[in-house]
Symmetry: C2
């Protein structure tokens, strides 16, 4: 098999851990697999470098910040290649520019355009292990670029696509993807197999195992991802890159369940604006200044108009709440709406599952379960494979547990 293995910062957290990573790679290599490894900077290194830079300049994004940060992964590839060679394995490190991970020139959040798989292929043909620096690329003028948060996952998935790997294994300190955050719900269960589209929803909704951008890339380029632990030998969780929402026939969740996972996004604030005159363009007039201020408006609900007036509710990140309130007040003279209510601590709890498409009554079951538990639902928003419910943040844990039980997520699977 041809495998890409990606090890994150905590897996590369110390010389000892790098030794463990090398041992794991050596085992896969001994099984006859062709292996390309993608690594992140050692834990803490990126922060150390950013702190140095901040003392000299407050610039957040800059060509030179990318030159600086790219050293973190460079140290990692060199150390890991040394550790592998010490184990008698021919290993060779590659920087972003050496495998020509070509990106656009948006420093700090560049997008991968192409990868030159030829030098990697040559090494694999010779039986060498290839160690590639994650997070970094090069633009067409030869400048170093970086891919932004979670960039190494994206490097790994893109590399897997470029060499047509059988699997892209993403190693971290957790052993897979869970039905929900085990810190919140002790009955959370590791998922064996999940559709990439479900994972994409979960990742976008706050699950942190995989970056949404990487899942999106994997889905588009048909890369199978497996999330595993660096520190045990479990089977991990497989993310299957097949489109389920676009498919003509209804697809079930891979483990036969209607709901596959529950994510929650805390640190959210809810606004409700009443007495809005219901005319064309009213919602646009309200949200335009927020968009111009780059405030990320999430769930938006509009009530049916009554006597020509309606109510608009929406959520924003908690950090944007104060600015949102100011902007709304500045609109009042021209728009003339009524009361603005703000709930500063709410959370969005979302249930995700490909099976929802063919199973009616999923929303009802969720509402009933929360109702039975005495939890008020403040806003509801649904899409083909997810239902998001906004609740007071005091009820977040309870809501997650209640829903986890209601859909029997602890029991599904093998």
């Amino acid at each position: 098999m041809r495998i890409v293995q990606k090890y994150g910062g905590s897996s590369m957290g110390s010389v000892e851990r790098i030794g463990l990573v090398a041992a794991r790679i050596a085992r896969s290599h001994a099984q006859g697999h062709s292996i390309v490894v993608v690594v992140s900077a050692m834990q803490g290194e990126t922060d150390r470098l950013l702190k140095l830079a901040a003392q000299l300049s407050p610039r957040p994004r800059d060509r030179e910040i990318d030159v600086l940060l790219a050293t973190g992964e460079q140290v990692s590839i060199a150390l890991l290649a040394l550790a592998l060679r010490e184990k008698g394995i021919d290993a060779r490190s590659f920087l972003g520019h050496q495998v020509r991970i070509l990106t656009d020139n948006v420093h700090g959040s560049a997008r991968i355009q192409t990868i030159d798989a030829a030098p990697v292929q040559e090494c694999l043909d010779r039986g060498e292990v290839v160690v590639v620096a994650g997070f970094q690329g090069v633009d067409q003028d030869g400048n170093i670029t970086t891919l932004g948060r979670g960039g190494s996952d994206l490097s790994a998935v893109a590399m897997a696509a470029a060499i047509a790997a059988d699997a892209c294994e993403i190693y971290s300190d957790v052993d897979g993807i869970y039905t929900t955050d085990p810190a919140i719900c002790s009955r959370a269960r590791k998922i064996d197999r999940i559709w990439a589209e479900e994972m994409l929803e979960l990742a976008s909704l706050g699950a942190k195992v995989l970056q949404a951008r990487s899942v999106e890339f994997a889905l588009k380029h048909k890369v199978t991802i497996c999330c595993k632990s660096t520190f045990d030998d479990g089977d991990g969780s497989w993310v299957i890159p097949q489109t389920v929402t676009m498919g003509g026939e209804a697809m079930q969740g891979l483990e036969g369940a209607v709901v596959t996972g529950i994510a929650c996004d805390r640190q959210t604030a809810r606004f409700s604006v009443s007495g809005i005159l219901n005319r064309p363009g009213a919602a646009a007039a309200l949200f335009r200044p927020l968009a111009q201020d780059a405030i990320n408006v999430d769930v938006i609900i509009q009530t049916a108009p009554q006597d020509g007036y309606c109510e608009l509710s929406f959520t924003v990140p908690q950090v944007s709440a104060r600015r949102t309130a100011e902007l709304l007040e500045s609109l009042r003279p021209t728009m003339g709406f009524g009361q603005v209510r703000l709930a500063e601590n709410v959370a969005k709890v979302s249930i995700v599952g490909a099976g929802m498409r063919s199973q009616p009554g999923v929303a009802l079951r969720a509402f009933e379960a929360l109702g039975d538990a005495g939890i008020d639902i403040e806003l509801i928003s649904t899409s083909e494979i997810k239902i998001s419910l906004v609740v007071d943040d005091r009820f977040t844990e309870a809501a997650v547990r209640v829903l986890h039980d209601a859909f029997e997520l602890h029991a599904v699977g093998r």
Copy 2:
């Protein structure tokens, strides 16, 4: 003027010092000079990286060690470029491969072959300050290489040659080249101007301000070097790249003196082997096993044969003394020499000056001065512009001071 400025590890020792360096560059830039800066890794960084590597692998030289070490200079160029831009100066960093500092593929001590000055030239034409990573290059297959100890000096001199700079300024924490080590001789005086060939001898003989390889490169490519302090505004010492020993007519020292400087090389051991049958190939038979063991034999003296036998004396680094003794003993059965005497703590004190070529009696003056001070000379070796004297290490400081006084080095120049 077109100037290359090189800042070493101590100049880049902290964020504060990088700020000082940026301020100094800004002043030169404001004077209208075109500036290319070459920097080393921050003080301590290379050791930190080597320590990490040593925990994983004992390999001293390796492709991956170069990948690892090159990050040190990469951090420096990014931070310095950020600091310059914060001062409103357009600055752009370049890695070794980005200016194509092409080297051979001897990892850990690569030799520079060519530099592509075009990208640097473009930046200078736009009025930008160019910041280049020292110590690193790239081989013809795109692998990162490093130049070995003192490599950043060499990068700076090579860059100066490539862009035909008017001067290559080497900044450190000392304000120039001294007639001898001020820690040994308080009357040591800063030299204003010195021939590169004299500097080459001094550097080879233990003076640490400039690496011998860099001086050799400067001499060959006619680069004028100026050694200055990062932390004051003195004029520094100029190293003039003109060949003096090959010239037809005799040249004086640049400051009119016969002797320009005194270097000493301690941690040396002396061997004397007596009773060697004086036949062709005897010296070769003695030194062949030492060479095969990579023992660096320095001064070699053979006495005139007496009754068909001669005595051979030579120096080796103190760390090689024990191994040398073993090798000599292994030769005894076949060569049949007599007594082997070892002086474990000797030093080589050398006086250097272009003026010696035209001034007879310099050696005599040195012998007399040492004799008057009661210092025994154990071995003597001379070349066109230097005289090396081996003395017991107990007398090193005294010998340096006596010679410094004898040739009035404190008084020469302005």
